[in-house]
Amino acid sequence: MPIIVNVDVMLAKRKMTVTELSQRVGITMANLSILKQGKGKAIRFSTLDALCKALDCQPGDLLEYQPEEGEARE
């Protein structure tokens, strides 16, 4: 999927651990892992809201659109 979730980058910037984020946001480590690995199919606004609050950032800081190779050539 061309949408990348930059949770890792934001965690590094905020010097926060995954466990801490998990506790603050209230989602499981397994779900955070799905987000980080890009395996998620959708993200709820409520989750995005909680992540932005916990990481003190904008949705755009967490989500990035990276076109796939075929799309980029077009």
Binding site: I34, G40, A42
Partner: protein, 208 residues
Amino acid sequence: MSSSVQGPIRLAHIITRFVYFLLILVWAVLFAIFLAQILFGLPETWSFSIDLPLKLDIAQPGVLSVGSEQYPVEISAVRGKVAMQDPPSFFIWMPALITLFCIVLAIFALWCFKGFMGHMVAGEFFHQRASLRLRQTAGWVVLAWFIQTTFTFWVAVWVQNHVSFNDVTVHTSFSWDLAWLAVALFLWIVSRILDHGRDLEDEQKLTI
């Protein structure tokens, strides 16, 4: 899943299993009779008659009398079976083999359906194997229908060419029995719906 839904599903599962084992028993008994006939022959006291599943149009000419006038009429469109007393051995072997084979196909179909019902009882409505089992059931049903239909068609043609009756003109006609094909189509559609349900379930699971 609520118990009000679980109850009928459990009942359907039990019935499916019962019919499955009953069919195996029927097949075993028929096969034993078939085998005994090959090895020892039929007892002389047994009288076999073969019913050919055919739609017959028997056209018998007659006369309608109204007052002094007489009008030619014809009785037709009679549906029936051709019963054969002491038929040639070929006519015993062939339907017996086809019947045994169709029962085997029905057993396969029921085995697949039993697997599907097992998933339903376990609450795994959208399990990949549940929809697969349903599609397999549909496949076996279609195969059994095809073999049965082909056999009936062949018998119709054969009877048309070989059977004759005194003073009665017999027109055998072949009719498509599409009920089982409709059942198979319905099962296939349900399996596609379950596939779609599985996609939605996956999406739901991966929505964070």
